[in-house]
Amino acid sequence: MSERKFKYVGTRPIRPDGVEKVTGRANYGADIVLPGMLHGAIARSEHAHARIVRIDTSAAEAMDGVRAVLTGADFPDIPNQWMGDDEGGIDFGAIAQNCMARDRVLYHGHALAAVAATTTAIAQEACRRIEVEYEVLPAVMDLDAALSPGATILHPEAHVRDGQPSNIATKIVYEGGELEDAFAQADVIVEREFKTPMVHQGYIEPHGCTVRFNEDGKYTIWCSTQGAFGVQMFAAMVLGLDPNLIKCVPTEIGGGFGGKTTIYLEPVAMLLARHTGRPVRMVMTREEVFRASGPTSGGKVRVKLGAKRDGTFVAGDCEITLEAGAFRGSPAGAAAMTALSSYRFPSYRIQSYDVVVNKPKVAAYRAPGAPISNFAVESCVDELSRELAIDPIELRLQNAVAEGDRAPYGPVFKQIGLRETLEQARAHPHYSAPLGENQGRGIACGFWFNAGLQSSAIVSVNADGSAIVRTGNPDIGGSRASMAIMVAEEIGIPVERVRPMVGDTESVGYTDLTGGSRVTFATGMAVIEASQKVVVQLRERAAIIWGVEVEDVRWEDGVAYGLNAAADQDPMPLHVVAPQLRTTGGPVVASAQLSPPAAGPGFATHICDIEVDPETGRSQVVRYTTVQDAGKAVHPSYVEGQMQGGAAQGIGWALNEEYVWDEDGKVENPGFLDYRMPVASDLPMIDTVIVEVPNPIHPYGVRGVGETPIVPPLATVANAMRSATGVRFEQLPMSPPRVLAATDETGS
C-alpha cells in the first residue's frame, strides 16, 4: 500500500466546483425558487422555559397573504425513545419537539408556530401577531444550576438518577488500573478545573430549504445539509411518514461543521406545503441560527494527572460535565473517549455527564466534545511539563500512545502517527524560533476517531473517454475533487476528464452523512472499488476488440496492453476504446457500496505563538503551525485547508467565542457583530505539515482529516497564553477583559 506510486493522488488540481462558486452561480439552500412558491417563517419562544397555555393564531390567519398557520397541535406526537446505548444515540421524539414545541418551550427561540405567506415580510409579521400565553417556569441556565439540590428538572419523566428525577441524562464511566494507588506513587500531581462556554459552529450559510408537495403524497426537499439520506429519514420519523414518500436533493452547502447533520425547518416546510398545496421555502435569519440551531456544549472538566519525576505518567482522572441543551444528547461520550487517549495512563478514570439545561439543543460540532476535554487535559500536561522542567514535546513523546497501546475506551491502537506529529513539530523551525516581547509559545496534541459508516458510488465512462462519478455525500470539504482524483488514479485519465457529482436520495445508493471525517476515506473506498470494476470492464472491451481473452489484457495508466507478444496489438488508450463501447457491449458503468470500520485514528500536534498587550489584555496569534497525520493526502490543498480551518475555529473558541445570556436566558449576542469569530485579518497564515502514516485499512492509506485539527487549538492557545502571561487560564474564552483581569490580579 505505502509503496504504491501515485500519478494523481497527492496532486493539487483545480477544484471542480470553483467556477460556479466564485461566479455566484452555485445554488445553496436559499437559492431554490419554484413557481407559486410561498415563504415560511417561524414564531419563537420569548422565554427560556415556559408552559404554553394558549396560542391564538387568529390575527395571523386574518392577514392578507397568509396561507397557513401551524402550531405543535398540527404535528404528530412522536414518542420520546432513545435509540442507542448510553454513549451515543438519537431520540426522534426530541428532534420532533425541537422542530416545533408542543406543550412546553425549553429555550429562548424554541419554535412554537409557523406561517406560510406570499412574502417573507408577511410571514414574519404574521408570526409577530401570534398571541401566546405562557406560564413561565424557572429556567436552568448552567451546569451548576442544573445539578444543584432542588433544581428545576427539565424532563422529570425521562431522566432518573438514584431514584430521583434528574437533569443528568447520562453518565459514562471508563476506568482501569488502581487509581488511588497510582496517584499515591506519583511524584507530581496537577489538578485543576476548567470551564468552556457554549459556542456555535458559525457556518456562513444559514439553514434553508424549499419543499414541494405533490398530490400523490410525495415530498421533494431541496436543502443545505450534510446528509440527504439523513434528512429523508429524520423528516419521515418526525412526521410519521414512509421515507419512500420523501426525496431529498442536497444543494451546495456553505459550511456545516456538524451543525447540518440534523433537521430544523424541513418538517415544518413539509407540513406548510401540504396544507397550502404550494411549494414553501424557509430560511433562517442569522439570529435564528444562533438562537435555535445546534451549538456545541458548554462544559466543565476537572482533571487530575500524576507523573513520576522522570516524566512518566502514572494516573489520570477526569470528570466531564457537558450541557446538552434542552434535550439529551451532548457529546459526553466522545469527550470521555478522547480525553486521555493521546497518552499512556496505566491507571485512569473518566466520568462524563450529559446534562440538560434550558438552552438550544446541541448538535455535532467538528470532533464533538473532544476539544472541551482536550483543553483541560492538555492544559494539565503543560503544567506537568513546567513542574517537571521537561520540554513539553519531550514529555509528550515520552508518554505518547503508539501502535499496540490500548485506548482508555477499550481497543488497541493499530498504526497511528501521534509520535510522528510530535517529532515533526519539534523539528519545525517554528518550535525553536525566538519569541518577542510579551509573546508566549504553547503546544498541544489532539486525537479524533474518524468514522466509517455506509457509502456508495457509481462510476461510468462516456464515449469520449471521460468519466462521471456520483456519490451521495454533499461536498462540504472538497470531496468532489478527491473523488475525481481517485477515479483518475484507478482508470488512468486526467483528473479534469472526471466529472464528480453529488446525487440525491433517488439517484445514488444510500450514503451516510458528510461528517465524521469519513468521506474521502469511506466513500473514497467505494469510488476506488467502482473504478476498479470499470477497469475490468474496459479490459473486457479491449479483449473483444482484439479478439482475445480478458486475461490477456492489462490496463495501465489509461491504456490497454495486450499480453500476447505474438499478436499484433498496439497499446490502445481509453480514448480509442471508449468510442467502441457501443459495439462491444454498451455503456461501462460500475457501482460499489460498503460499510467499513472507522477511518483510522487521527492525531495532531499544534504550535502557537501569542502576543498579549499588557495594557488592554488583547491578544494576537502571531504564528501558528499544525502538524497532522493524514495517512495519505489525496488532495493536499484540501487537507491543508481542513487543518487551517480547524485551527482557526479552535483559536476563535479559545480567544473570543461564547454565547452571552441575560438573566432570563435570552442570547444577547445572536449575530456576528457581537459573537466574535476570527476573520482572516485576525490570524496569521497558518502553517501546515502533513504527516503520512498510512492507515492500514484503506487502499491508499487515507485517514479522516476534517475534525482532528479543531481538537488541539484550545489548549495550544491556552498554553501559549500561560507562557506569555504566567497565568493558567481555566476558563474560555480568553477574551481581553478576562485576560486583563487575570493579569492585573496576578501582577503579570
Binding site: Q226, R366, G410, V519, A598
Partner: protein
Amino acid sequence: MARIIFSTAQRDWVDGAEILEIEAKRVVDLLKALYDRYPALAGRLDHAAVAIDGDIYNDARFQPLLADSEVHFMGQVAGGQ
C-alpha cells in the same frame, strides 16, 4: 473464543464481569449468547458501535469474529466535519 471487554458502565449488566470469553462466529451470535446469559443486558448493545481487534464498526451486527478476536461495545461516534 472471542474475548469481550466491558466498560465500567456495561459491567452493571453482566454481573460485574470485566472480561468474558464466548464462542461466537459473528457479532450477532455473540449478542445472542450474551443476552441469553445476561437477560438484563438484552437489547442494550443492539445499537452500540463494536470494536473488533481494534477496528471500530458502527454497523457490526454481521461482522465475523476470529477465534481470538477482542471485542468492545462502544458508543456510536460519528462527528461533524
